[in-house]
């Protein structure tokens, strides 16, 4: 795929998102003009851009969509639920078409084509019952109907565009032909005449100057501003005249006069491309000669472009004032938007990754320098390296910041999901979003979408009750699903909260017994019962609906989240609702670590999780729990866990770690202090390895493994559970 196409796809998807958000908002506020204009602009941009990359199927589809939006914009049709629904489906279809383009296919599959055709015919229903088209033949007297952009369908008349490119256009790297090709994407070029008259004799002709001009008849529904925008890039460098459809003959006369070519020759050209009839031309030129004789030199002196074209047109009542105003304000808006865009720079993700990789190396190298400096005991050197270290830390933070994106965009996608699903299942559900500005790593944002989708759908399908039942229970009729994000000590927490019926413990327990996950008679705490929903193949939905219960269970959600080094929990009060809490690390690349040693090996524990370090007393030697200020603290011995040879040193240390409310101890030989680490992921052959989250390189060049505290705690808990004879299926055996 070439670069242009990939840029189109990226930007097209953004525009699509804008359109979709706009449409959803339109359902709430049908009278918001700005919003309708925004939607139109987005659709128009997609269409225009698809023309540039010559993607016919998107262009023609968007053309239909745009027509409907245009009528909406002009108040010719009104907003209805059917219409927004249809337009939303069009958005979906467009997304599909973009996928097709992205996959490099020439054309969409047959199924998509049929779907597209169906949508197009539905769209056509909104365009066909248009008010009667501007009747032809009223050209001269009906001034108020002259401007036809957005009005009834103009079949007989076209825009007349007359353009003379300046000599420097080619040197500026622009190709006038490509502008014309782009123009063709706005509508249909009915006639086109090339004007080569300005080319000087062979000896004087500079092949790098542009001498060409074109007279074009264009049939389009686009507005004048849209046509002008085609020539935006060379605006200063070309002479552009645009006459709206149904312009008066006198306008053409004026045009003939203003253009550099000989009047007669130009007149013929206009006749040839169908702008004027021969009689009109002859009459016009005759009357011009008679009446304008004294005026015309004066006219020629005043450069025709000094007065903005818009004003000229208004003077002659060709275009209504407000139309021009609208066009002008639109142009200002666009330039403002460009100014905003200019503050953003698009960077390729892999370049950013490379930068972060390098910063990672810098951190490691910095740590090594620091070590050497400390050993050398030269205070000057130590001081300068400590400044260096601080700067490196700042660089690291800013580099990581580059990858941070707000989660809002991901959340906003759910507006649509909630709208569609609640209609589908006939429940009334509102989505509330809080903390949309919370930032997290881009890779995490990309991967969190699917698990979230699953949770939200689950909440809507199983959680929220039907409106009648809710009323009976004394709850508001409309259910509520909340998406919430916030930062919490080095991790980001995302919550999916619903105010539905909560998780039915009895049902879960019965099901678990049925499935053999739990022995009958076994006593479990409420939380333990709820946690059973994470088990593979567990679904309480009594009937399999379209939404959930397709065999993809919560275990898959959990595994997806775990693969992001996160975890998820559920809490629920029966009758009041359920909260799913997802906890994710802020970034996947660099962490502050706590370096510990066992034997000769070094390990890193993420510093955020370390609470305190204590000395392990001799008398606890054979137990794996201890009394920490009145609390039971289970611990693991890394030496035993990783089956390392060598004897224990006389004094061992315990690092007390906390993760998601659980505390545990890790017994190590010695503590080596804080250490900034760049996480190097383990190769995929180690992906089943539990307890190790990654590796890193120490300043001395040695490798240290990063402990996956969550897995360690989990494992510890599992071991404990097994000893207490709880039966737990082996989760690693489950295949999705």
């Amino acid at each position: 795929m070439d670069e242009l196409t990939s840029v189109f796809i990226q930007e097209g998807r953004e525009q699509l998102q804008t359109m979709e958000t706009g449409l959803l908002e339109l359902e709430q506020n049908p009278d918001d003009r700005d919003n309708i204009n925004g939607i139109f602009r987005a659709a128009h941009t997609i269409k225009g851009a698809s023309g540039v990359i010559e993607c016919g199927f998107i262009e023609s589809f968007m053309h239909k969509v745009e027509n409907v939006l245009d009528r909406l914009r002009n108040n010719e049709i009104s907003v209805s639920a059917d219409l927004t629904g249809l337009l939303l489906r069009c958005c979906d279809h467009l997304g599909l078409l973009m996928d097709v383009l992205e996959n490099g296919s020439k054309e969409p599959e047959d199924e998509a084509k049929t779907n597209g055709n169906a949508l197009q015919s539905e769209l056509a229903a909104y365009t066909s019952n248009a008010g009667s088209p501007t009747p032809p033949g009223q050209v001269i007297e009906a001034e108020s109907e002259v401007h036809a952009s957005g009005g009834g369908v103009v079949d007989t008349d076209s825009w007349h565009i007359s353009v003379r490119f300046g000599p420097d256009v080619l040197r500026g790297g622009m190709d006038p032909l490509s502008f014309l090709h782009f123009l063709a994407s706005l509508g249909e070029i009915v006639a086109l005449e090339t004007i080569p008259d300005a080319i000087p004799s062979a000896a004087e002709m500079d092949p790098e100057s542009c001498y060409l001009g074109f007279e074009i008849r264009l049939q389009t529904r686009s507005s004048k501003a849209d046509i002008e925008r085609v020539f935006d890039f060379c605006r200063d460098d070309c002479e552009l005249h645009i006459l709206p459809p149904n312009s008066k003959v006198s306008e053409y006369q004026k045009l003939i006069k203003e253009l550099p070519e000989d009047d007669m020759r130009l007149g013929e050209i206009l006749v040839r491309c169908g702008a004027l009839t021969q009689t009109e031309l002859e009459e016009g030129l005759l009357s011009q000669k008679q009446a304008d004789q004294p005026v015309s030199p004066q006219n020629q002196d005043a450069s025709p472009l000094q007065q903005p074209l818009g004003e000229i047109l208004v003077d002659h009542k060709v275009v209504r004032k407000e139309v021009v105003d609208a066009a002008v304000s639109k142009q200002t808006q666009i330039s403002e938007k460009k100014a905003v865009e200019a503050r953003l720079i698009r960077v390729q993700a892999d370049k950013l990754d490379q930068l972060i990789d390098l910063v990672g190396e810098l951190v490691i190298a910095g740590a090594s320098t620091n070590l050497l400096a400390t050993r050398s005991r030269q205070s000057d050197l130590i001081e300068s390296t400590s400044i260096l270290t601080r700067l490196v830390e700042n660089i690291r933070d800013s580099a990581l910041q580059l990858r941070m994106v707000q989660i809002g965009e991901t959340f906003n996608r759910f507006n649509r999901v909630v709208r569609d699903v609640s209609r589908e299942i006939g429940k009334e559900i509102d989505l509330v979003i809080t903390g949309a500005e919370t930032e997290l790593d881009k890779t995490v944002v990309e991967k969190i979408g699917d698990p979230l989708m699953h949770l939200v759908r689950n909440s809507m399908d199983h959680g929220i009750e039907a409106a009648d039942i809710r009323e009976e229970k004394g709850k508001p009729r409309r259910g509520r699903v909340e998406l919430k994000a916030y930062h919490d000590s080095g991790s980001i927490v995302i919550e999916v909260i619903d105010d539905g019926g909560g998780l039915p413990r009895n049902k879960i327990l019965a099901k678990a017994i049925d499935r053999g996950l739990v022995q009958p008679g076994q006593s479990l705490s409420d939380q333990e019962i709820i946690n059973l929903i994470w088990e593979p193949g567990f679904s309480t939905a009594e009937q399999v609906t379209n939404l959930s219960g397709r065999g993809v269970g919560m275990d898959v959600v959990r595994r997806n989240i775990q693969s992001l080094r996160g975890n998820c929990e559920v809490s629920s009060t029966e009758g009041e609702g359920t909260t799913f809490t997802i906890r994710l690390p802020l970034t996947l690349a660099i962490i502050d670590g706590f370096l510990v040693g066992v034997g000769k090996s070094a390990y890193v524990i993420p510093l955020d999780m370390v609470i305190e370090c204590i000395e392990l007393k001799e008398n606890t030697a054979d137990r794996d729990f201890l009394n920490l200020r009145g609390e039971v603290l289970p611990f693991v011995r890394l030496r035993e866990m990783f089956e390392m040879s060598g004897t224990r040193p006389p004094r061992e240390n315990i690092v007390v770690v906390q993760y998601a409310g659980q505390k545990a101890g890790i017994v190590v030989d010695h503590l080596m202090g804080e250490f900034q680490t760049v996480i190097k992921p383990l190769s995929s052959i180690f992906r089943h390895l539990r307890g190790i989250g990654g590796s890193t390189i120490l300043g001395s060049g040695e490798v240290a493994l990063i402990l996956d505290v969550h897995a360690l705690i989990q494992r510890n808990a599992d071991l404990g559970a097994r000893e207490h004879n709880f039966s737990r299926p082996d989760t690693t055996d489950f295949n999705a």
Binding site: S178, P196, A202, P207
Partner: protein, 101 residues
């Protein structure tokens, strides 16, 4: 007997080679009575190239030289079509069957 020259342009008729092409074209007109242009290998043409063809045609007409394009590449054909210039050059255009829409 008329001096018949033939010029085949293999490179793209674009701004990048405009200078050379101008000299090539005008040079080819020198002393010719009939000039045949073979553009079948010209993969691309832009405004600069189009201008040169127009210039050559006009210059040829001025000097009473018959300039004709005897072979069009698809790109040339499309561009001439788009700009409505096929009649100006007045050359027979061969449209391959599989290209016909």
């Amino acid at each position: 007997m008329a001096t018949c020259k033939r010029l085949a342009i293999h490179e793209d008729l674009t701004i990048y080679h405009a200078m050379e092409h101008k000299q090539q074209l005008i040079g080819a007109l020198e002393g010719a009575e009939v000039l045949e242009l073979d553009l079948s290998q010209t993969a691309e043409i832009d405004t600069a190239g189009l201008q040169l063809l127009l210039l050559a045609k006009r210059e040829a007409a001025r000097r009473n030289i018959a300039l004709s394009i005897i072979a069009h590449s698809p790109a040339i054909r499309q561009t001439l079509d788009f700009c409505n210039l096929a009649a100006f050059f007045g050359d027979p255009v061969v449209i391959a069957a599989h290209e016909q829409v």
